[in-house]
């Protein structure tokens, strides 16, 4: 099988999948991407297993500043055109299947003119006009595009979705974010967690130059960007309360200062949501370690020494970090929202608390920190959940079968 993967970045959702399909099943996997990502960083094995073609960066990626919301569809079309031209210039590609990521629309719109094979969309998410995702944090100062952008942000997603042969979402909740009319077209296949990397066990209790005494309780918070949609400000408020009660807690925060979703800059008027959140409290920053973004191996080590992992997302795409933490055997305290509940069953393999209820969050966190042994079974159960339902070993075979089923449609046409 010859699969062409399309994504903004490599490896992202497809890199490890492509590596597995290439090395275990002998598939030829070609990637057209705009950038090599550090989230996670591609491994040498991965780079050896697949072929990567780099597409020109879109304006948004070039500047890192984003683009005005009315232009998002035009940017998507530029990306579609770029992919079209790359494939047109390489007639030897001849894929049996195209698998395209559609975070803001899979850039497949013009491919029917240059490939003769089925197209699968990775249906990551369909934004709501209110009460979810970027429209959820109504507690923050209003942002001018808030009433408008959610009504047009899905244009790229819709355009590519109506054109694809099949789609898949990573979770049931993500699939349910799409209009019901599209559900028959979308299957659910999780990408797969690397359980051999994210595993429980001993790890060095040092972070950079700092060594962490055995008695210190480590609370972790991980997010690609420290932003409102992932509840960074709420975490800081809870952390502050925890720190005031217990003097033996160290908070390790992983994540960059960039904003990936929503209007944090407009909400706050500050260039960094992290800085804005920090400016709104009297935090004892000596109790925090802010690491920025880290390599997967480092993240795995950090999660291994975590006594409590806090994950405070708004109702939005579930982060890998929560599943990585579960895979590492962490006790996870998540926000009580449907995407979290799909994986995390309170009292069974983790804990939840209402997103905005800092008091309850603090109370539950302190309960864990007061008696880690009593909560350790939750971490063990979390690990089992990932091993049984979300590991690469479990997820890739059905995903491979799905790809084969869809690719076979060309032969039957």
């Amino acid at each position: 099988m010859n699969v062409l993967f399309l994504h903004d970045a490599f490896p992202a959702q497809f890199g490890r999948l492509g590596q597995e399909l290439a090395t275990r099943h002998g598939w030829k996997c070609t990637f057209i991407v705009q950038s090599l990502s550090s989230c996670p960083t591609p491994t040498p094995e991965m780079l050896q297993a697949v072929e990567i073609i780099q597409a020109p960066m879109t304006a948004e990626h070039r500047t890192g500043e984003g683009i005005p919301w009315p232009q998002i569809y035009g940017q998507f079309l530029d990306q579609c055109r770029s992919v079209y031209e790359i494939i047109k210039a390489r007639p030897q590609l001849r894929p049996d299947l195209v698998v395209a990521h559609g975070g803001r629309g899979a850039p497949t719109l013009f491919l029917r003119d240059v490939v003769d094979c089925p197209i699968i969309n990775y249906c990551e998410y369909f934004f709501a006009t209110s009460h979810r995702d970027i429209s959820y944090r109504i507690d923050l100062p209003p942002a001018e595009p808030a009433p408008f952008f959610p009504r047009c942000i899905n244009a790229p997603t819709l355009a590519s979705l109506v054109d694809c042969d099949a789609g898949y979402s990573a979770t049931e909740w993500q699939r349910s974010s799409f209009p019901a009319r599209f559900h028959p077209r979308i299957e659910v296949h999780f990408d797969g967690i690397e359980t051999s990397l994210y595993r429980p066990g001993p790890a060095p209790r040092t972070i950079g130059e700092k060594s962490i005494p055995e008695g210190t309780r480590v609370v972790t918070f991980v997010s690609r960007g420290l932003e409102s949609i992932r509840g960074f400000d709420l975490f800081m408020r809870a952390a502050d309360r925890i720190a005031r009660v217990r003097s033996d807690v160290l908070f390790v925060v992983v994540g960059g200062e960039e904003i990936h979703y929503g209007w944090d800059k407009l909400h706050t008027g500050a260039p960094s949501f992290k800085q804005w959140a920090l400016s709104r409290g009297e935090f004892d920053l000596s109790r925090f370690i802010f690491l920025g973004r880290v390599l997967p191996e480092k993240l795995a080590e950090i999660l291994r020494i975590s006594d409590l992992h806090i994950y405070l997302t708004a109702p939005f795409v579930l982060s890998w970090s929560m599943l990585n933490a579960m895979s590492s055997g962490c006790v996870v305290l998540g926000s009580d929202v449907p995407p979290v509940r799909e994986v995390l069953r309170p009292g069974e393999n983790g804990l939840v608390a209402p997103l905005f209820d800092v008091e309850v969050l603090t109370e539950r966190a302190l309960a864990v920190l007061d008696d880690p042994a009593a909560y350790a079974p939750l971490g063990l159960a979390a690990r089992r959940t990932i091993e049984e339902s979300y590991s690469l070993e479990v997820c890739i075979p059905p995903l491979r079968d799905f790809f084969e089923r869809v690719a076979a449609r060309r032969k039957s046409r």
Partner: protein, 427 residues
């Protein structure tokens, strides 16, 4: 089913555009109150009767890319959003209320996309006319290898505003089954198929069965009693409506019969952006420069005319020709049928939905110029023998495509949607 009076906000780039006539009917015949928000006003001759008497028209401006005279294909949605935003700005300022229902139509420009933002959101009905396919229908069927890829990119990407509109609508509304079938399968079951209706009261035959035909005149020009009048009516004289095909046929008819007078109405400038080769160009001039008319005295070009002139022309027509490409049935075709014309149309799926060959009109393969000519001459040779086609056409329109047939159903649908406990508005 109830058809109570409702407060309806209508949003369309142009007034009266497509929806103005339906809004007018609902005001006059069902006691509605209507606010019609638009960007552009057509000449007053086109305005319906209830303007200022239950139908209030409000113009909104546009900013950003929508102010540019030409917009690159990849910025079409951005332009639509500028229209939607312009509409919202005036709504925010004027705040018409109460509003029970919003009815929008994007028409390739802007829409009601942001209208529900300004208040507690009433249900939205979205009128959608057309869904482009990458390489099929309208002019794409004939696009040759010289056509630049950007043309197909545009076709494949320009439906975004329709998709957004439909996703945020309580109900999508489409005029014909053929148009419904253009939309992705996922949307079809949720689309109400209902024509917005022809005002049949405007159209009547001059002659009555058994009585002599009264004297005919069109736009002040008398037509000899013995003349056979062949008509072509379009908003603009373009390839989409088959003006090139018509002109070829007209030349042959003028050659074949000395009593034929051909009358054409429509703007010679091509207004539809989808005809990229001739957009904003004089297509009539292009065709006649290449091939001067055989007999200009018998080939009348009236230009763009008011609706009353179209009605006069259709009343005088012996043969109405609609040789358009595969595209939604032109309103003028239905009007010609309502006027009792014998209609000779291209044999295409949209026309077959409306015209049954040999019963309510004639259909001909547009690629077969001889066949088209043969059928046209047969009608002109024996108008009386073909009269039953015109009579049946009128009955067909009155039964299925007249305002009085269509709009009561629309009022029922609106009622179900707008009034609490109505149980939804799916067809």
């Amino acid at each position: 089913m109830p058809q109570d009076p409702l407060n309806v906000l209508w949003v369309e780039p142009t007034f009266p555009g497509r929806l103005g006539a339906a809004a007018d009917w609902l005001v006059r015949r069902r006691g509605y109150r209507a606010w019609f928000y638009c960007h552009t006003l057509e000449p007053r001759a086109h305005w319906p009767a209830s303007v200022g008497r239950g139908l209030e028209v409000q113009v909104f401006g546009v900013g950003g890319v929508a102010r540019e005279t030409a917009v690159g294909w990849s910025r079409a949605l951005e332009r639509s959003l500028c229209y939607a935003y312009g509409c919202w700005e005036v709504l925010e300022q004027k705040r018409p209320r109460p509003i029970d229902l919003i009815v929008g139509r994007s028409a390739g420009l802007g829409s009601s996309l942001f209208a529900p933002v300004y208040d507690r959101a009433p249900p939205v009905v979205q009128f959608v006319d057309y869904y482009f396919h990458g390489r099929a229908n309208d002019l794409a069927d004939e696009a040759g290898p010289e056509t630049p890829p950007a043309y197909f990119h545009w076709r494949r990407s320009t439906t975004a505003i329709e998709l957004l509109d439909l996703e945020q609508a309580a109900l999508g509304w489409v005029p014909t089954e053929w148009q419904r079938g253009l939309f992705p399968a996922e949307y079809r079951d949720d689309l109400l198929v209902l024509h917005d209706g022809v005002d049949t009261s405007r159209f009547a035959r001059l002659e009555r069965d058994g009585s002599p035909r009264p004297a005919r005149s069109i736009a002040g020009r008398a037509i000899p009693a013995s003349a056979r009048v062949v008509t072509f009516v379009a908003r603009s004289l373009d390839r989409l409506r088959g003006f090139d095909r018509f002109l070829t046929l007209a030349e042959e008819l003028l050659r074949a019969r000395t009593d034929v007078v051909v009358v054409v109405t429509g703007d010679p400038i091509v207004r539809r952006g989808l005809d990229v080769a001739f957009h904003n160009k004089d297509y009539l001039g292009h065709l006649t420069a290449a091939r001067p008319p055989v007999d200009p005295k018998r080939l009348w070009f009236l230009g763009a005319v008011p609706p009353s002139t179209v009605a006069d022309l259709l009343a005088a027509s012996d043969l109405h020709v609609a040789p358009g490409r595969v595209y939604p049935v032109a309103r003028s075709t239905l009007e010609a049928m309502a006027a009792g014309c014998v209609v000779l149309a291209s044999d295409s799926a949209p026309h077959r939905e409306v015209i049954e060959h040999g019963q309510t009109g004639l259909l001909a393969d547009p690629a077969d110029a001889d066949g088209l000519l043969r059928q046209a001459l047969a009608v002109l040779d024996d108008p009386a023998g073909h009269r039953p086609l015109g009579i049946a056409a009128t009955a067909r329109v009155r039964q299925s495509y007249s305002q009085d047939a269509c709009l009561p159903r629309l009022a029922e649908t609106f009622n179900r949607l707008a009034l609490p406990g109505s149980g939804g508005g799916r067809p």
